[in-house]
């Protein structure tokens, strides 16, 4: 079945190439047909790959360069359930974005379709790839298409500014990843993830490996918008067109965290497996700070898309904290939070986009409020299941302090969303700088796409059997030795027992946190703006730091790298 694997990557790229070739000689509807056909095919094949990956590890060596006696020099695609799920998600979100854009983006430029198809192909390549340098190339391709899409509205300085900040910060991150890859190649002579991991597992770690780990992790975290590498995100999300925000929030930013987890569990787990608690705690602390900063800044915003942007930062923090548990439950919780959060936040971004073309739509207020509540995560709605698994993972590590902080952060972001949603949908107060009422868009179509996404996101917690399959997928993701056996030796997977199809049972503490968060979020959201005198200096300082100069953002990257690198260098020697 290995021929299946390149399809979700090749077909959208072919559609993009065909669109570029036919650029001036064919009508616009043909371009939409080609792109929708390409992404639809990719979607179908990615579902087939996901189903296949549950029972075996589909493996494709490009050019037939198979490994000989456990040594590989070719480039491979190797898919496990979490990667398969990510590919399905990106294809689904791209389809939704394209359907939405049919009537929302009325520019004559074909480049929009080309860029969307490129993003879909590149994310599929990113999650499938088993070669570290190949992952870097897909990362850069995702980046370039993302920067161009963010700055698509070139008439407005704000859009260009957001795209420039996005581009410069992520490019610096990409260079850090490349420096780390170079150091790993110097140490091991291999670029295949499984091969590097196997080579590093023999001996104790050297300083070069610690530096490589710092650089690669920081590079991916720049893409993932984790504090202090997150400053580009609000600038970019506030100005990108709504369907582009759907893709960015839904899967592109989470891809950075996928990269960190993938490289840790296949490569760095080998030399540092003994100190994994230290590395995991670094991730956990960074995730907590990110979640709280995101939640706090969300409350300080008035622009709907900026509130959503900071809510994304908050949830990235929660997901990263889940990854930082470095356990099956933590990874499964992070994956399910990505799914629920991606669909719901994507739907909310699409709703915010509708406000640009039709400012008075009070009948969409219930959809927005349901989405905002789903992000807070009351029992069995939306991101509840992900948060519940992360809580279970924390309890497994005998920790009880991350849970209330993560729930609090989610509450703050949810409260901000509820408050601004009431302002925008119910009371019809808008910042007028984005209104373009003259555009004749098919609002029922836009509303349908947005509602479908929000409902799908809310339903994530209610799918029976999803938790068990996510946990099985997370187990395979973490299994470094098994991954190396399957990729380098082609060994078949051990047969897994049949997984039950039941709803997950969460602990009473989690249910209590969830209900408490819902009450608090609704209370703050409906209560409106109150200025707490004591918090003013901190709020002003936080807001000043997030002011838009890109030189400051890069300075934060350097400082963050130095702090993380210094801490790891001292503690991991």
């Amino acid at each position: 079945m290995s021929w299946l694997l390149p399809v979700p990557v090749v077909v959208p790229l072919l559609a993009a190439a065909l669109n570029t070739a036919l650029d001036h000689v064919s009508p616009k509807w043909l371009h939409s047909v080609i792109t929708l056909g390409g992404i639809g095919t990719a979607f179908g094949f990615s579902i087939a790959i996901l189903v296949e990956s549950m029972s075996s590890e589909p493996l494709h060596w490009f050019g037939g360069w198979e490994p000989r006696s456990g040594v590989s020099i070719g480039i491979a695609f190797a898919v496990d359930p979490i990667a398969g799920g990510a590919a399905v998600m990106v294809c689904a979100l791209t389809l939704a974005a394209l359907v939405y854009s049919l009537t929302f983006i009325d520019s004559e430029k074909r480049s929009y379709d080309v860029l969307m198809a490129t993003v879909c192909a590149a994310v599929c390549g990113f999650v499938f790839s088993a070669d570290l340098f190949n992952i870097f190339v897909w990362l850069e391709l995702v980046g370039v298409a993302g920067y161009a899409l963010t700055g698509f509205d070139i008439q407005r300085v704000r859009a260009l500014h957001g795209a420039l900040n996005f581009a410069i910060v992520n490019t610096v991150g990409g260079y850090f990843v490349l420096l780390g890859i170079a150091l790993l190649y110097a140490r091991t002579g291999a670029l295949n993830l499984a091969q590097i991991g196997r080579t590093l597992s023999g001996e104790p770690a050297t300083a070069a490996v610690i530096v490589a780990m710092t650089l690669i992790t920081v590079g991916f975290l720049c893409k993932a918008a984790v504090v202090p590498f997150h400053f580009w995100l609000p600038d970019a999300y506030a100005v990108a067109p709504a369907p582009v925000c759907l893709l960015l929030a839904g899967i592109l930013t989470d891809a950075g965290l996928f990269g960190v987890a993938r490289v840790w569990f296949t490569v760095f787990d080998a030399p540092f497996g003994g100190e994994q608690r230290l590395v995991g705690d670094t991730f956990l602390w960074i995730g907590l700070v990110t979640a709280l900063v995101g939640g706090a800044m969300a409350l300080a915003q008035r622009n709907l898309k900026r509130v959503l942007a900071y809510s994304v930062v908050c949830h990235i923090g929660i997901i990263f904290a889940g990854v930082g548990m470095l356990s099956t439950m933590g990874l499964a919780g992070a994956a399910l939070t990505v799914v629920a959060h991606g669909f719901v936040t994507g739907g909310l971004f699409l709703l915010a986009g509708i406000l640009v073309v039709r400012p008075r739509v009070p009948w969409l207020a219930p959809v927005w409020l349901i989405g905002a509540v789903a992000l807070v995560g009351p029992p069995y709605v939306g991101s509840y299941i992900g948060h519940s698994l992360i809580d279970d993972a924390a309890v497994e590590l005998h920790r009880h302090w991350p849970q209330p902080l993560l729930w609090l952060a989610g509450t703050l972001a949810g409260a901000a969303l509820i408050r601004e949603g009431i302002r925008a949908f119910v009371r019809d107060e808008h910042d007028d700088d984005e209104l373009e009422e003259h555009r004749d868009a098919n609002v029922p179509l836009l509303a349908t796409v947005a509602t479908v996404l929000v409902v799908l996101g809310c339903a994530t917690s209610l799918v029976p059997g999803l938790v068990q399959r996510a946990a099985a997928g997370a187990d395979r993701f973490r299994d470094r030795a098994g991954y190396a056996d399957r990729v380098l030796h082609g060994e078949p997977m051990k047969t897994t027992p049949h997984l039950p199809v039941t709803l997950h049972h969460s602990t009473t503490t989690t249910i209590a946190y969830a209900i408490g968060s819902l009450v608090l979020a609704v209370g703050i959201g409906v209560g409106g703006r109150r200025r707490l005198r004591i918090l003013q200096p901190a709020a002003a300082a936080l807001r000043a730091v997030h002011a838009g100069a890109v030189g400051d953002y890069v300075m934060w990257i350097v400082v963050g790298t130095a702090v993380i690198g210094g801490a790891w260098a001292i503690a991991l020697r």
Binding site: L160, I168, T171, Y175, L179, A182
Partner: protein, 114 residues
């Protein structure tokens, strides 16, 4: 094994980042990104270098001749292509900003955009 190429790579990276942080002109900023990128080239090529090795051409050459590592050269070429695309995009965005805002200073653009 000489440490000099690695020190040079580290210095170029830091100098490039310093340029990005203190830049007052978007084109200067884009070129400082190119400087940072050059540090990755120096590092990759230094890693692949073999003392006394010839170019990695193996046709018609005696078995056992030392040659430098061709893989890092391929990585460098890929890196050049990828970064060229990003640089072109950043310069195009900078030109558009100049058309709309009449300035190329990142701080002033941040002021206008907020």
């Amino acid at each position: 094994m000489s440490v000099l190429p690695y020190l040079v790579a580290a210095w170029i990276c830091v100098v490039g980042l310093y340029g990005v942080v203190t830049s007052k002109h978007l084109v200067h900023l884009a070129l400082c990104l190119t400087v940072t990128q050059s540090s990755t080239y120096v590092l990759l090529l230094a890693i692949g270098y073999v003392e006394g090795g010839g170019p990695p051409v193996f046709k018609g050459v005696k078995l056992g001749t030392t040659a430098v590592d061709p893989v890092v050269q391929a990585l460098t070429l890929t890196d050049i292509v990828v970064s060229l695309t990003v640089l072109a995009l950043i310069l195009a965005l900078a030109l558009d900003v100049h058309k709309r805002a009449e300035t190329m200073d990142p701080d002033e653009i941040a002021e206008i955009a907020s």
